[in-house]
Subunit: 373 residues, 2 copies
């Protein structure tokens, strides 16, 4: 698999991103605006665009940057935010989302991006791309602004599955470490397991069990395990990767987003309050814009699906051109670095652990894949 | 119980707050500074102070405001942040925490405040004050800055217990509604049940079950049920009370606190960045201080223990004088309004629901207590 990847990666080859043009809150015009932004910055990128061609072509043909860089897959149906994943799995064949994944499956594209229904996208991804051998539950990983030098932490799972047992959490640790190594150039990422306290006796049974497992595999899988961390550490600097189940992770990121949004609004109000504060807002505008950029969720838009045969990035449903472009950039980098293949190798090296029952002791002498997945 | 409370509540009577002087990160001097702040603002308050008298007396005697308003309970031991709740339950008799709760139990004090170990405080509170009849799991409720007109939302449970089944969540809804009615003067609070999406098919089994139960009791218990809410709604305006299990709630508030802290630090940096931004910070200082006050977690410091025979407020472990004073103010208001008794009546009115098995249908004709608990 690695050999195949290497063939795919001469610097000059164009990376093709399969883009679901439909299903986002802002409609296909925001998606096309996003691919324009990406195309302007990146000469090595091409697109396959999925949706009603009649609707998409006028949006694309206006843009000279996109000339010769977009192929269409004309599909009429759209997965809505209200559609149940189970329904989409049975009836989704004619949708832009299904079609977008199909291009990855067939090898025509190197990764897929969609702004649509998260649950449906994960269900279809598992159905069409299949889970990596040995992965029980794939996960969605996001980047979160933090106090760490790299500026961000990885958190997973943020909503692929509302359950996770101890082995799932170990797999999240392995996959999150891979992602941090590849996405943030951290040689030896620090993993933290999210809990309600840092003391070892705290938390649910599966967390205590996962604590043992993740500690056990630190050396073999080349990460540091810092133990239990708390919600306040998600934007903190004690860990680079925060591991949790998809229910807790989803609530946590949405709470963080909501809190940041409230503070932003109150800050804008404060700057409008008096003539003095209005003057202050003018004087501080450069510094404030820098701050805004630092914590702008659009810039780190994109939940990466980990544990599948292929790169899939879920963009925020309400993403604008900046957000869509960030998600495309992420998919591009993952494809360019051969991330899916590296991750597959990493997971394969621990597959016996996650399939055996009961949980076996780790064998430190085991010959693990040395690729930095 | 109500009669007894009424006797206790002539406007002129001094309300006695039992304060655990030890166990906080900042030591007894921060606690004494907090009671000084409260005493200065509130002539109707008196204190019983628990800890080594030799250490406390010099701190208190310097303060003229406290003259004649402080009684001591001389106890030598302290519950540390590292002590396990189970250990404290067996061996905690000589600690300031135990002693502080004892004063509430005996009726000498109208409420207790502690900055100490949360798990130990909850365990001792259950042991000494006992749960209200019909309450399975007590909960910790906090106020959280929000977009609602009242400026805050109630969230519970934020860490009394890491588990909660459907009936526990219903009780949290009932107790949270009572708290919002008494603490924020909301006639008919809106309850939201925290989940990973607002669609009814989402989430764990116990959440779907709780959804039905909480909806069923909306009329009888005089609240509106807005259904499932997401993490972003915790600081939002769609609900006044956010109901969740203690694991999720704890992670959510700590994530929110951590995110707010990071933004605050980045904002300070931004204001220091250039001569212009430094000038801006001077001009905007009044507006910024107003904003800071609006979201200052110290001002809403205090997790209220709900579901016990007595008022207990857990102050943040790192609380300074402002934080301790806020927690004392909260305990004072709860005691003054006879909250524990109203809550007991409210819970008693639904006790048959939570004890029967299987879950019975609600009886809308039932004669419920009309007090606004």
């Amino acid at each position: 698999m690695t050999a195949q990847t290497d063939q795919k990666r001469p610097g000059s080859r164009r990376i093709i991103i399969s883009v679901d043009a439909m299903g986002g809150d802002a409609g296909p015009s925001a998606v096309v605006a996003g691919i324009v932004k990406s195309a302007e910055k990146n000469p090595d990128i091409g697109f396959i665009l999925h949706g009603p061609q009649q609707q998409l072509e006028p949006l694309v043909s206006r843009q000279r940057t996109l000339e010769g860089r977009v192929e269409y897959r004309d599909v009429a149906d759209v997965v809505t935010m209200e559609d149940r994943p189970s329904h989409v799995m049975r009836n989704g064949k004619g949708t832009s989302m299904w079609s977008a994944l199909e291009s990855v499956r067939s090898g025509e594209a190197d990764g897929a991006v969609s702004c649509g229904n998260t649950g449906a996208l994960m269900a279809l991804s598992m159905l069409r791309l299949r889970k990596l051998p040995g992965v029980n539950r794939p996960a969605i990983a996001v980047l979160w602004p933090s106090r760490n030098p790299q500026g961000f932490n990885v958190m997973l799972d943020v909503g692929a599955d509302i359950r996770a047992d101890a082995r799932d959490l170990l797999q999240y640790a392995l996959m999150g470490a891979s992602y941090a190594r590849n996405g943030m150039d951290l040689r030896r990422p620090r993993i933290g397991l999210l809990n309600v306290g840092t003391e070892q006796h705290k938390g649910r049974t599966e967390l205590k069990e996962a604590h043992g497992l993740i500690a056990q595999f630190a050396e073999t899988a080349n990460y540091d395990f810092v133990g239990f961390v708390e919600g306040s550490d998600i934007p903190g600097d004690v860990a680079d990767v925060i591991v949790t189940d998809g229910f807790t992770g989803n609530v946590a990121i949405k709470t963080g987003e909501g809190t940041a949004g409230l503070i932003g609004d109150l800050l804008r109000e404060a700057f409008k309050y008096s003539p003095l504060s209005r003057l202050a807002s003018v004087l501080a505008i450069t510094s404030m814009n820098r701050l805004k950029k630092r914590i702008d969720p659009r810039r780190v838009n994109g939940g990466v699906f980990l544990g599948l045969n292929g790169n899939v990035v879920k963009s925020h449903g309400s993403a604008d051109a900046t957000g869509v472009s960030a998600a495309i950039k992420l998919a591009f980098h993952l494809a360019q670095s051969g991330f899916a293949e590296k991750l597959a190798a990493r997971v394969a090296s621990t597959v016996e652990l996650t399939q055996d029952d009961p949980i076996p002791a780790a064998n430190p002498d085991q010959d693990h894949n040395e690729g930095q997945a």
